[in-house]
Symmetry: C2
Subunit: 500 residues, 2 copies
């Protein structure tokens, strides 16, 4: 018998896929899904065999169409099912006869609308036949490297003007895995990540979780070399004990960043009518997540921002955060946010302060720069000053993490300050994040240049602060668990960027 890992792997790397409900009609989900696979196969991304199943067609997109699964001669690893719920038990029986390994039921109309009997029937067939089942009522799987793409939402929409626009894009390959209970939020996440040029490894949407749920997928992702960071959206978590046991194992190797909605009574009531999830008392989740080393995001932006930080930077080896800035106000804002998230900003060591004093005497940084932490180079900052100051700070053994706030507006600052800072940062194994504020050309250019250098950049001081605090807290957790060194060693490349 295959291991659970192997069973789950079939969803992401099937040698052959059948789409039951494949269609020629562009408005049908069965068309979009089948076409995704066809296009990825044509491009050489999806390498498996492909079978459209539809009794009313001879061929779809030049692929020979079969009236049923059992009429396919070669073996089928994974079946994607997009036909009405009432017809699915019959298909599942055929899948069982065909010895299919995994089934994904995209269709809705099961337990979530009260049709629990049909959900149970489908579940029983799968269980008896040893078929692993994802869904029903889900968006299935997207794998950026294997070319598996079960999303029935087309990449583009045509507006009433006739203009075609990107609507549900697929992110580039990268090291973030996205695991979502909510399909709609999962798709929105893909849209966000694409626009922010953050790459993903795998995407899974669970739907009703008739069989496969979080613990097995997390176990699988723990072993997945393409995944470095796991982003988990959940409203309620069933089999909580098993989930926490697995999560604790995973977080010794990879961070799990969780957005757990239904935190308040308003939200819990909404969640109950959405997924039927019993959200449970939030404080229970809070402490359970902390024990399992799960990093909890406070909101959607936090979720993505922290994911970005982990995809490119290592956790910190202590709680000493330094802030380097050319703008006083934003330095204050970052200091505030670090403390609000639980990590106070300490004064720098006397030794480091003296190094800055010496630079002042040498007139290499402004006489009135402040150096207590934040280190404020003031509006007279230059690229060279940023480089010098970053080096002094990262040299300090009491500085475990660094926030660089480089507002580009300052007159003497040229864009090479990013590269100069990066050249220093790359000599250390300490996490660094950057901030520039603004939504026009130069600000976006500076942030993108930081990102390309593997230093995650943010558009507000608080976002940068929250991300570095997450890197600090996770580092403290790993040290407490005695697996910090092992974790660092297992990271393939320290600053490999997530973004292109």
């Amino acid at each position: 018998m295959e291991s659970h890992i192997g069973q789950i792997g079939v969803f992401f790397n099937p040698r052959s896929v059948a789409v039951v409900g494949a269609s020629r009609n562009v408005s049908k989900a069965g068309h979009v899904i089948f076409k995704n696979f066809v296009e990825n196969r044509t491009r050489g991304v999806f390498k498996g065999d492909l079978y459209p199943i539809n009794p009313n067609e001879d061929q779809i997109l030049s692929y020979k169409c079969y009236p049923s699964l059992t009429r396919v001669i070669d073996p089928i690893d994974t079946v994607v099912i997009v036909i009405p719920a009432e017809s699915i038990p019959k298909v599942m029986k055929e899948a069982a006869a065909k010895k299919v390994k995994a089934a994904v039921i995209i269709s809705a109309g099961f337990g979530e609308v009260g049709n629990t009997a049909i959900e149970q029937e489908v579940k029983d067939i799968a269980k008896n036949a040893g078929i692993r089942l994802l869904g029903p009522n889900c968006l299935g799987v997207y794998d950026s490297r294997s070319g598996v793409d079960m999303l029935f939402l087309p990449e583009t929409k045509v507006l009433q003007s006739g203009d075609e626009v990107v609507a549900t894009p697929r992110p580039i390959p990268g090291n973030l895995a996205v695991v979502s209970q909510s399909g709609a939020f999962g798709v929105a996440a893909l849209d966000y990540l694409t626009g922010r040029e953050m790459g993903i490894s795998k995407f899974v949407s669970f739907g009703n979780k008739a069989d496969v749920s979080e613990p097995e997928v997390l176990s699988y992702l723990k072993e997945d070399d393409e995944t470095k960071v796991i982003l988990l959206y959940a409203e309620g978590i069933a089999s909580g004990r098993e989930f926490l046991r697995v999560a604790k194992e995973v977080t010794e190797r990879k961070p799990i960043i969780a957005l757990k909605a239904g935190r308040t009574s308003s939200g819990a009531r909404a969640a109950a009518s959405h997924t039927g999830a019993l959200s449970g008392t939030d404080s229970i989740y809070e402490s359970a997540f902390a024990q399992a080393g799960i990093i909890r995001a406070r909101d959607m932006d936090d979720f993505f921002h922290i994911g970005k930080a982990f995809s490119a930077q290592p956790p910190a080896s202590g709680d000493g955060i330094a802030i380097l800035t050319d703008a006083g106000g934003p330095g204050v804002m970052a200091a505030d946010e670090c403390e609000l998230r639980g990590i106070s900003i300490r004064k720098l060591s006397n030794e480091t302060i003296q190094k800055f004093e010496k630079l002042k005497e040498q007139q290499r940084i402004p006489k009135f720069a402040t150096n207590l932490n934040p280190v404020d180079l003031t509006g007279s900052a230059s690229s060279e000053m940023f480089e010098l100051a970053a080096k002094i700070l990262l040299d300090d053994s009491e500085v475990h993490a660094l926030i660089v706030i480089g507002l580009h507006h300052v007159p003497g600052l040229t864009e090479d300050f990013v590269d100069r800072i990066a050249s220093v940062v790359h000599q250390y194994k300490k996490p660094v994040v950057a901030c520039d504020i603004g939504e026009t050309e130069m600000a976006m250019y500076v942030r993108s240049r930081f990102d390309k250098q593997g230093i995650p950049s943010y558009s507000s001081p608080e976002d940068a602060a929250r991300s570095i605090v997450a890197l600090v807290k996770y580092g403290l957790y790993l040290m407490k668990e005695g697996c910090y060194v092992e974790y660092l060693a297992s990271m393939k490349g320290r600053n490999e960027p997530t973004t292109r």
Copy 2:
């Protein structure tokens, strides 16, 4: 004697401006500032007279140059000073002799670096001559309509590649006033607002506040027809009692949204070395702000998001928030955030629930849409359903504010859902905000279309929730103070968009 309002008005609408330290050299602040005025005058935006003052030049940008203020024959309303601090007392004496009304000292090198004597001298000269003084060590004033632009940071920077990029843009005219203690943050705010197409009326940076500070400027903005919303960044507020007295008057007419940094001990220490501000205990600010009706932003994004909400929407007349969505998860997230910010989401009235049940019977909304609040139209949502549901919700007298979450990914949704919702919203005097998630074409298009319809849009459910909660809380404050009706009446146009 002129009123304080009139005295402050001279900073924003001078009939004549002299720039002391005007220069031909592009790298000098005195060049950038003088050129700003020249360009705005050429374009017909700045209508006053303009005098460059520099003893070493005959003319600058074709304007006759004067060796000193006293050599100008016609009267001068406002002087902008950008020469080294030590030469400024002499210039201030000339300004006094010339009966100048207002002086703005951009130059640094005063109290903020320990040169308190020279700051006191300048202050005394101004006081004795009745000259109102802004700064020193500030960025001065930008007025989008009068063409006053004292920002020494050029709009563009040239990269090492030779490419010219927008670096410190000036926002389009709009109804937000930006008042900032931090110059750097102020400039960054202009960059943000420009990129997000949020227009401003006026920008003021105080610097050392030798004379003019928050209370007078707030009083002035209260009477300013071009300003509807005031965004205030502060680290410490001197003359707190006077500030709160004025703020309370202002907030009966216009919202003040405050970002008060230095909230924690880490931040307070940073603020002390930045502006020398004694940040004070945060809880004191918290309660003082609440008493004065000041809306407190939690972070930078909050600051801008709430500003955007107020610039286009009225405050609510009660605390009943409805959430309308096509995506369950984001609906839960919005409900959570409303409650976390202090406003719980209540179940809708039976009457309203029955209206939705009737629509289900008529098959005009999905049978499995939920209607308790959030109202979830599910992934089967269409534009018509959004229109119907918005109308039912806004018709409910217990619904005082509405969050619309319209994720565009849903297959049946066409972009006209925005216009259909807007046509309903415009029939009511209830605040509405919108959310679509995603960072690629269609998401941005949907959000921009909402913005153009005067419905502020946000890229996360929590941002939308925070903004609507601010509109609710401010409405409750106005009602408690007995000035809600008057406030609404004074609003010129209910949904006039802030964005172009």
